[in-house]
């Protein structure tokens, strides 16, 4: 009965925020040294390590490119997206 009053945790409560993106960050795995600086600064919390590689969840990445700016190895490139 109280269910409409309770807010439940859910991944992507604002929807698939990846649709907001204009520039898509792409990781160059050759240059990446897994310092995880990008993951530290990512406001969306979408950067993880999977199979010893940086993995970005493009469903929710809003494309702010903070990761590109903080990357010391310059391993992240931005690519324009067209819908």
């Amino acid at each position: 009965m109280l269910d409409p009053l309770i807010s439940h945790p859910k991944v992507g409560s604002a929807g698939k925020t990846g649709e907001w993106r204009v520039f898509k960050p792409i990781v160059d795995h050759e240059l990446c040294v897994l310092c995880l600086e990008c993951s530290e600064y990512c406001p969306e919390n979408v950067i993880e390590v999977r199979d010893d590689k940086i993995w970005i969840d493009y469903d929710y990445c809003k494309g702010c490119l903070i990761c590109k700016n903080v990357c010391k190895m310059k391993a992240i490139k931005a690519e324009r997206e067209f819908y």
């Binding site: 409409p4 807010s7 439940h8 945790p9 859910k10 991944v11 992507g12 409560s13 604002a14 929807g15 698939k16 925020t17 907001w20 993106r21 530290e40 600064y41 990512c42 406001p43 969306e44 919390n45 979408v46 969840d57 469903d59 929710y60 809003k62 494309g63 702010c64 490119l65 903070i66 590109k68 700016n69 903080v70």
Partner: protein
């Protein structure tokens, strides 16, 4: 699901999700979050669903500190304090203007809470109205730029000094430009019993008029110019400061933002830039920020 999961509704490049994420990681999710109205509430808790992986309560605009004090007292009576720390995430308006009395009261009663103010220097949620923490000269919708008025007139409140004056055990300032420093400060803060205050500087992309990818850069510039010193007080004594490697002029910080653009053209702009430079120099002198 992570502590502050993906898919929240903040603008691309927003600063405070970095702070929230770092704080919850530092506390390993052992936290009860109290959040007054503000950007963080709007972006994280929509109707029926939210992005928090930790217990969360939304209070009114003014009473976050009082709600947190109540939760802390209840946890103490029920002997459940080991379950987590009571953490308040409040904006600068909720801390310095609207909820100021409640914050002061909670500090006065010395409740065992960690109060974190994310400072984006205006009421950015409703569209950039000036708050008590807006720096002089900034253009907001309530301090527009015209012939007579070059942005905000008056000073900015020094919340860190106000918190220190309450005699609480731990006060610090941090910045989203340095999340590891923020994590260390949070871990240090929860070692103390009593009210703790951390002031986190967090740029706002639409309000400050910066590009989304510049958030971290601008936050670091504020620290490097001396306008926003990163300091730590324990029991009222200054224990640590973050030293500046190379001092930069305030113009560099002001030029990066659209809200200060008029200062370089307005007849009274020069005076305000000089005033801001004086504030920065005073901070550097007061806290001895320059590396020897």
């Amino acid at each position: 699901m992570s502590y502050f999961g993906p898919g929240h509704g903040a603008c691309p490049g927003c600063g405070f999700p970095i702070a929230v994420k770092s704080v919850l990681e530092a506390l390993e999710g052992k936290a009860f979050i109290v959040n007054p109205t503000g950007c963080l509430e709007i972006v994280s808790s929509m109707y029926g669903r939210n992005v928090w992986g930790v217990p969360y309560i939304h209070s009114l605009f003014e009473n976050a500190a009082a709600v947190a004090a109540g939760i802390e007292a209840a946890l103490r009576v029920l002997k459940r304090k080991h379950e987590g720390h009571v953490v308040v995430f409040a904006g600068d308006g909720a801390t310095a203007d609207i909820g100021f009395g409640m914050v002061s009261g909670a500090f006065d009663r010395d409740h065992d809470i960690l109060y974190i103010c994310y400072d984006n220097e205006a009421y950015q949620n409703t569209g950039n109205q000036q708050s008590g923490l807006t720096p002089p000269g900034a253009r907001t919708t309530t301090t527009p730029v015209g012939k007579r008025q070059p942005g905000k007139i008056g000073k900015e409140k020094d919340m860190v000094s106000i918190a220190v004056a309450h005699g609480i055990p731990y006060v610090a300032s941090a910045s989203v430009g340095y999340p590891n420093d923020l994590k260390r400060k949070v871990k240090r803060a929860v070692e103390f019993e009593g009210a703790k205050y951390i002031h986190v500087h967090s740029p706002c992309v639409p309000g400050w008029g910066i590009d989304s990818k510049q958030t971290v850069e601008v936050a670091r510039l504020a620290v490097e110019t001396g306008l926003y010193p990163l300091v730590e007080f324990e029991h009222g004594k200054l224990v640590r400061v973050m030293k500046i490697k190379e001092k930069k002029p305030v113009e560099e910080y002001l030029k990066a933002q659209r809200r200060f653009r008029h200062l370089f053209k307005h007849p009274e702009g020069k005076k305000i830039i000089e005033e801001l430079q004086r504030i920065a120099d005073e901070n550097i002198k007061k806290y001895n920020l320059l590396q020897q």
